[in-house]
């Protein structure tokens, strides 16, 4: 029943994203419309994949760090991506793929640094150190970014931030294809980690006694979740809130077991972002809202309702 409801929400969000837009396309002409085929369809797919990846990444990291505030962008990733993007513009790399690639590289660089700092003692990944390292690396990257922006002459730099906090306007079949090739591996790693993550929720010692390879699990989840978030930054900038709140919302409906939780988070995140992007495109047409604003405006009330229901029951 719950799954059917979620499925319907996903289908509705996806159809809405294709049918609705600032420009009216008659239903009969939908399939033949250039606007639908070249713009709306890839954008709806991208929104779904990015939203799902962010939510799944958030769910994985929350389980790994055992902190409800964990979020793909808390671990230095957005700071690194911003630094990469700003550096690309400051170095006048003009190719259309330069900005996403540089942001991706920056995000991975920051993540690698956080990972290295998170390895303490005999090479164990300590969640508490991980989160502190993430905040520190993020702050450092943000400082370097601000320094570049304030010392550089390029007026384009200001717009880098628009891109970074941007959204899905750069969607094309190319970017969908990139995700289609890239996503399966990290997705599979995270889905496969569902059962051991349940054990980890009991604590590292009990999980170890129950036969989980805790060290390898933590590494796999951290790397896969970071890879997911990094590619999301590269194709759509930093879209906040989805990775933080969707996993919690899904936990109120599916509980703490990761086998149902992870796929539900993926579907819910995808539906939320597709829906939010439709609102962002349509609400103030012909202008467009940054999608991150809408994810918060749509998501917070829903989350508050679920939270209420969950705490009273």
């Amino acid at each position: 029943m719950k799954w059917l409801g979620l499925g319907l929400v996903v289908v509705a969000a996806f159809l809405g994203a294709v049918v609705l837009g600032p420009v009216h396309v008659p239903l009969a002409g939908l399939a033949a419309s250039d606007i639908v085929r070249t713009l709306r369809l890839p954008r709806a797919l991208l929104a779904f994949l990015v939203g799902g990846s962010l939510a799944l990444s958030g769910a994985g990291l929350q389980a790994l760090i055992r902190n409800p505030l964990a979020d793909p962008f808390l671990l230095g990733l957005s700071g690194g991506a911003g630094l990469g993007a700003v550096a690309a513009i400051a170095l006048h790399l003009a190719s259309p793929w330069a900005l996403p690639l540089a942001a991706f590289a920056g995000a991975l660089g920051a993540t690698a640094l956080v990972y290295r700092l998170g390895l303490v003692g005999g090479g164990e990944l300590d969640p508490r150190v991980l989160i502190l390292a993430g905040v520190a690396v993020g702050a450092f990257a943000a400082a370097v970014t601000t320094a570049i922006v304030s010392l550089s002459d390029a007026a384009e730099l200001r717009n880098t931030f628009l891109w970074l906090w941007g959204g899905l306007s750069g969607a094309s079949w190319d970017s969908v294809l990139v995700l289609a090739v890239y996503l399966p591996l990290p997705l599979a790693v995270l889905f496969a980690a569902a059962r051991p993550l349940d054990l980890l929720a009991l604590g590292e010692e009990p999980a170890r006694h129950l036969g989980a390879d805790v060290e390898s699990l933590k590494r796999r989840v951290f790397v896969a979740a970071s890879l997911l978030a990094a590619v999301c930054v590269a194709v759509s900038g930093v879209i906040g809130f989805v990775g933080l709140v969707v996993p919690h919302a899904m936990r109120t409906l599916w509980g703490h077991r990761h086998r149902p939780l992870l796929p539900a988070a993926f579907l819910g995140g995808g539906a939320l972002l597709a829906l939010s992007d439709t609102v962002a495109r349509v609400a103030v047409a012909p202008r467009e809202l940054p999608v991150g604003i809408v994810t918060a405006l749509v998501g917070v009330p829903v989350f508050a309702l679920l939270l209420r229901r969950w705490t009273t029951s």
């Binding site: 837009g21 600032p22 420009v23 250039d34 606007i35 070249t38 713009l39 709306r40 890839p42 003009a94 190719s95 259309p96 900005l99 002459d153 390029a154 007026a155 384009e156 717009n159 628009l162 891109w163 941007g166 959204g167 306007s169 750069g170 969607a171 094309s172 079949w173 190319d174 495109r281 047409a285 012909p286 202008r287 467009e288 809202l289 940054p290």
Partner: protein, 300 residues
Amino acid sequence: MERRHSLRSHTIRLVALAAALACRPADHAPAAAGSTVIDDAGRTVVLAQPAHRIVSLSPAVTELLFALGVGDRVVGRTTWCDYPPVVRLVPSVGDGLNPSLEALAARRPDLVVLYRSPLNETAAAQLSRLGIAAVVLRQDRLEDVARAARLLGRLVGRSAAGDSLADSLSRLLAAPAPRSRRRLAFVVWDSPPIVIGAGSYLDQLATLAGAENVFHDIAAASAAVGLETIATRDPDVIVVVSDSAEPRPPALARRPEWRVIRAVREGRFVYLVGSLFGRPGPRAGGAAGELRRLLGQVTR
């Protein structure tokens, strides 16, 4: 908010005009006469005598000062000031935003002209405390430039030149070129797509060139819009303003999602150099003529 803001600036404009009219008789007095003006931040600026050492913190003001015939009095400029070319010989004091007071004071100016922004208003107040006269001027639209020309003319003892420059700009605004029915969209950024709306100087420039900005209905100076909106409004030409001197095809021309727009598909672009087109100034008439010529070159 926007409306209140513009109402306020309108009031300021009226006050400034009244002040300008009030000190008109002084124009005919001997050259040493001082002047009192009210700037666009509502501050009263008093000069005992015409300014002789001027730091200009905006490229448009630098151009205005040269147009008023007092270019030789400019003793400091911004990194962006590149016209007329001779101004490059004047020391730069920074980028004009949040200026360093020490760098300004070191030029020993008797007048500093700043672009209107909250940070610059603070800087102007601090300069006043140092005993350096500072005026804050809006320079967003051609009307602002006309008003700035009058006000600066008064402050440098060239009221007649300032008024005549302002009048010629007002005449330019009152008589745009005949409509060519060329429809254009200014794209200033590609991801997210940002276009120019009616609030911008570029929109004025399009009208002056006889063309129509397809996003004239957006009141703001610029706004993020969807690609499908641009595609449906179907401009004849995409106009790209770039900071670099040599025009090169924008990266967006090569991206598949942009090719939904007919003008992109058919390669109908016009490139404008920021130093002439990106700032409202005394060369606006020339800029409008050049835009008209460039638009005429694009085959339909």
